[in-house]
């Protein structure tokens, strides 16, 4: 069995795990990060994309609010290109309670969040679709974040500082030694879910950054950690109905945030306690609630074309808490298992929110340093990740580059302006196992047609890329890189992709070898996201996709094979009869 020895083993490839790996590598530790699927496959890639100013917590949870505004300022420096500087409004609708706006203003002042009341006329000029019956508007420095890109570049930064990144590697066991009272975690047994090979990672310290899955990981060392999985449902509308983040000025509740993200607007979210973090089923009432609440911010939102609904599961943590997930704290939870459970060499970091991922990593590694008896200061707050020189993201950047470079003929996904070279570079530059990985990389299939045209094109292009790779490096596997280059900082840029050397796929077996599997998996994953919101015009679009994939392509009668990918296993989880019907606990 292959063995790796490292200082720090990080379990989980969401924003927190990536942040911990980055922080640890910058402090000079040897780091290995393992993630059972693609980066951001879990909660990080399933949230609405709000970069909090802290305003949302100014009244309810001042400590969280302070963390948010401080991190907001830092991330604008360290992850500039992953952020759109949209600004944020807190609006008082006719339904919102009387004195909350004043408490909100006072709360912002207390914790240091810049907050200015905007004259109604000015607010409606900037956001003409806003509910005209809104009575007051406050502006705070909210933003819109690309959590896919941010996590990928954080990992790139970690890797440049020496970290080793293993995606599609699932922890199957924790290594422990010693007996009760003096136990110690010494690493993990990990399985490569693509090849099935196992390897052992020995580590001085193992950090459980698996978010909503933290309880399952800790259980491998018989440590009880009760994460409260709080499912949130979000709905994407096919226009940027607003260019500013819109929050309801009231106590946080369901469906009170509208975030402009790239080309769409996302309304979120619900908060339901569920039994399992993989339980991502969406109920009709959840969608109906989001649309009804959305109408209060932007009247007519529910009549727009709805693209997709999805759910993410918050990793809420509160010791001995038994109530609703909505009222559970959003604060980060750092569990020192030596102190708490008498198990050394093991920390769990969970709770928190995307905006505070860097701070969570800092606190975790401070604790790690203390346990390892070393004094190495955190450097992440002053260290920009690769690609920040691009400046803030702005919604027109792809169109601008496509037009100036005349790349219209190379568009694979017309909805999201993904070019052929962007797709090829993304596939070659970070481990790519499914088309869904490429969706997270370049937004393939995230627009109005939801993969109708680009799924086929991507499968065809990857097949050509594979053939080309094999022709240019015939039978000489040494000529091909063992591992992708992890150059992802510019993967959203059509111009940058165009100027790269032609892509070459890394060696090694991959589900990418089977285009039929890519097609099946991605179409099914898209189907899961669109069925909760299929009616009207989007239903017509879906029928066109059926005409394409059944009528024209006949992909339901491709030559049979038994291949499966990690994505196959993922969607089979909730298409198995009976799945999701259990009572939530």
């Amino acid at each position: 069995m292959k063995k790796l020895a490292t200082d720090i083993l990080v379990i989980g490839g969401g924003s927190t795990g990536a942040g911990v790996a980055w922080d640890a590598a910058l402090r000079g530790f040897r780091v290995v990060l393992v993630e059972k699927r693609d980066l951001t496959h879990g909660t990080t890639g399933r949230y609405h994309g709000l970069l909090h100013s802290g305003g949302r917590y100014a009244v309810k949870d001042p400590q969280s609010a302070i963390e948010c505004i401080e991190e907001n300022r830092i991330l604008r420096r360290t992850h500039t290109h992953c952020i759109e500087d949209t600004s944020g409004f807190f609006v008082v609708t006719p339904e919102d309670e009387g004195d909350f706006p004043d408490r909100f203003q006072a709360g912002c002042a207390t914790v240091g969040i810049p907050c200015e009341e905007v004259p109604l006329k000015e607010a409606l000029r900037r956001e003409p679709l806003l509910n005209p019956r809104i009575s007051r508007v406050f502006e705070v420095p909210d933003g819109s974040a690309d959590s896919f890109l941010a996590t990928h570049v954080t990992v790139q930064a970690a890797r440049q500082a020496g970290a080793q990144i293993c995606v599609y590697h699932e922890v199957v066991g924790l290594l422990t030694e010693g007996s009760d009272g003096a136990r110690r975690v010494t690493g993990a047994r990990v399985r490569d879910v693509v090849t099935g090979e196992e390897l052992v990672v020995e580590a001085m310290l193992t950090i459980n950054a698996s978010g909503a899955w933290a309880g399952q990981i800790a259980a491998l060392a018989d440590i009880p950690v009760r994460v409260i999985p709080g499912k949130g449902v979000m709905v994407a509308v096919n226009h940027r109905l607003v260019n500013t983040v819109i929050n309801r000025c009231k106590m946080p509740a369901d469906g009170d945030i509208l975030v402009p993200v790239h080309t769409v607007a996302v309304i979120g979210t619900t908060d339901e306690r569920v039994a399992d973090p993989e339980m991502l089923n969406i109920e009709p009432w959840e969608v109906a609630l989001m649309l009804a609440e959305g109408d209060k911010l932007v009247p007519g939102l529910s009549q727009s074309r709805i693209l997709r609904a999805w759910a993410g599961v918050r990793p809420l943590y509160q010791e001995n808490y038994t109530g609703d997930s909505r009222d559970a704290t959003r604060a980060l939870a750092l569990l020192d298992h030596q102190q708490r459970d008498g198990v050394a060499g093991f920390l769990t970091i969970t709770g928190g929110k995307w905006t505070t991922f860097r701070l969570m990593a800092e606190k975790t590694m401070d604790k790690a340093c203390a346990q390892l008896g070393v004094d190495r200061p955190c450097r992440t707050a002053e260290t920009p990740v690769p690609g920040v020189e691009q400046g803030y993201y702005w919604v027109g950047h792809r169109l601008h580059e496509v037009e100036t470079e005349r790349l219209q003929g190379d568009l694979v996904c017309e909805c999201e302006l993904v070019t052929r070279s962007m797709l090829e570079q993304a596939a070659a530059n970070n481990p790519t196992v499914t088309l869904d990985d490429l969706r997270r990389d370049v937004r393939l299939g995230m627009g109005p047609c939801q993969g109708g045209f680009c799924t086929f094109r991507a499968a065809g292009i990857l097949q050509e890329l594979r053939m080309r790779t094999e022709e240019t490096a015939p039978s000489n596997r040494a000529a091909r890189p063992e591992e992708p280059a992890w150059s992802v900082a510019h993967m959203q840029s059509p111009r940058h992709a165009m100027h790269q050397q032609p892509a070459t796929l890394a060696a090694g077996r991959s589900p990418l070898d089977n285009p039929n599997l890519l097609l099946r998996d991605f179409l099914q994953e898209r189907w899961r996201g669109v069925t909760p919101v299929l009616w009207g015009r989007q239903l017509k679009q879906e029928r066109l996709d059926e005409l394409i994939y059944l009528g024209i392509m006949n992909i339901d009668h491709l030559p049979p094979d038994d291949d499966a990918s990690p994505l196959t296993e993922f969607w089979q989880f909730d298409t198995t009869p009976g799945a999701g019907s259990e009572e939530t606990t």
Binding site: G409, F456, R526, W535
Partner: protein
């Protein structure tokens, strides 16, 4: 006054109009858009798959009886369905597109994903791709074309035993300009100089005995000439593989039908969305359209609804689970509960319930209510909006359109003859 106003310019509406004018009716078509022929393969599928079977249907005529009792084919009966397909084949013949069946059986041709797809009448441009042909193939694409991937096709055809290889030609063979969709590329191939460049480039690629598969871009207006030019220049058979919309073979078929109608004096008015109607005593008086200029009332003795189902825009639906026919608000057999519309798997062999329902009709193709009575005395329906069928799943899209279009036109004719006879008495 018109005898028949047809709403919808898809295959059902165009076919019905041709049959109606042939029967001596005064007829006109109004339609919101160009019709869904622009999206499809241009081949005539009659029945490709039955009941989730993995194997394609060998001959539709041996299997129609196995369809649901309410299926439009069962409503019409084998003889009329087959008669309509034969009628269509005769009437499309002057177009030169050369639609043929394989001795009354389905034939299998390559899909752009490399699956064998069953169809009944294939145009001349697609037939040389047949699975029964034992010659090897070379599938030729163009570098950078975004809708056609020879390596994907050859991978899957090879896995099914076909001797086939892939090749790529430079884009510049087709056009100097990069931003071109399939319909625009087809227009490039209308030019004999482009055809000659294609012949010269393909000569360097093709090996003796191979037939050549290309994306379906061999001419938009001059297809027959382009196909002949290539086959004579290359001394082998060339075939097209229809891919993503817009589809040149579909556009050719729509164009041929519209020209046939124009020659017979039938107007096809596009950009006319029907937004309302007026009925008195169960008889439709007029259908109203709204264009940018002014609202118009279209009066006729009879009306044929051929607006398509969900895809054509004939149906609409809401999150509350309401599913309705948009012009006459005809009752639909679709479940009025959104939780019953879809199955968990996209590729479920049973299809999606939301797409199986539609407008229920009687034996004369008149929309009926729950008790089986015609809702309007002078309204008929044809095409993919009919209930108890999922034409995309069954691969019966064109067959259902043609059979019901022809039958509806004939039913209108029968009724108008009877009315005249009554008046004369």
């Amino acid at each position: 006054m018109l005898d028949l106003l047809i709403i919808g310019a898809g295959l059902a509406g165009l076919t019905a109009a041709l049959r109606a004018v042939e029967a001596g009716l005064r007829v006109k078509i109004i339609a919101k858009g160009m019709g869904s022929l622009y999206w499809a393969t241009g081949a005539i599928d009659v029945l490709g798959y039955l009941g989730g079977e993995e194997r394609a249907v060998a001959s539709p005529w041996e299997r129609l009886a196995e369809l649901d009792a309410g299926h439009p084919y069962r409503t019409l009966g084998d003889t009329r369905v087959r008669g309509a397909i034969d009628w269509f084949q005769q009437h499309i013949e002057p177009s030169g597109l050369g639609y043929r069946s394989a001795d009354a059986h389905n034939l299998l041709t390559p899909s752009p994903a490399g699956a064998w797809r069953p169809t009944y009448l294939a145009p001349a441009g697609q037939r040389a791709g047949a699975a029964t042909d034992d010659r090897p193939m070379v599938i030729v694409g163009f570098q950078g074309v975004r809708d056609f991937f020879p390596h994907l096709i050859t991978r899957n055809l090879s896995a099914q035993g076909q001797v086939v290889r892939a090749a790529l030609l430079p884009w510049s063979v087709l056009s100097e300009q990069r931003d071109r969709n399939n319909a625009q590329l087809a227009e490039c191939v209308d030019d004999v100089h482009t055809q000659q460049r294609l012949v010269d480039a393909l000569k360097l690629v093709v090996k003796p005995g191979e037939r050549i598969g290309l994306p379906a871009i061999l001419g938009r207006h001059a297809h027959a000439q382009a196909l002949a030019h290539l086959q004579q220049g290359l001394k082998t058979d060339v075939f097209e593989i229809p891919t993503l919309p817009p589809s040149a073979p579909g556009i050719r078929l729509a164009t041929a039908l519209r020209q046939a109608l124009e020659q017979r004096g039938v107007r096809v008015e596009i950009g006319m969305e029907a937004i309302g109607f007026h009925a008195e005593d169960g008889v439709i008086q007029w259908v109203e359209t709204e264009t940018s200029a002014r609202p118009l009332k279209h009066r006729a003795h009879a009306f044929l609804l051929a607006t398509g189902g969900v895809l054509g825009g004939g149906f609409n639906s809401t999150p509350a689970g309401r599913f309705w026919e948009v012009i006459f608000d005809l009752p639909l057999t679709v479940p009025q509960d959104r939780r019953q519309w879809f199955r968990p798997l996209f590729l479920d062999a049973r299809g999606q319930p939301a797409f199986h329902g539609g407008v229920a009709v009687n034996a004369a193709l008149q929309p009926v209510d729950a008790t089986g009575d015609a809702i309007y005395a002078n309204l008929w329906a044809a095409g993919s909006l009919l209930a108890h069928a999922d034409p995309i799943l069954e691969r019966s899209l064109e067959g259902v359109a043609i059979a019901s279009g022809v039958a509806a036109a004939e039913a209108v004719k029968t009724k108008s003859t009877a009315a005249v006879a009554t008046m004369e008495r």
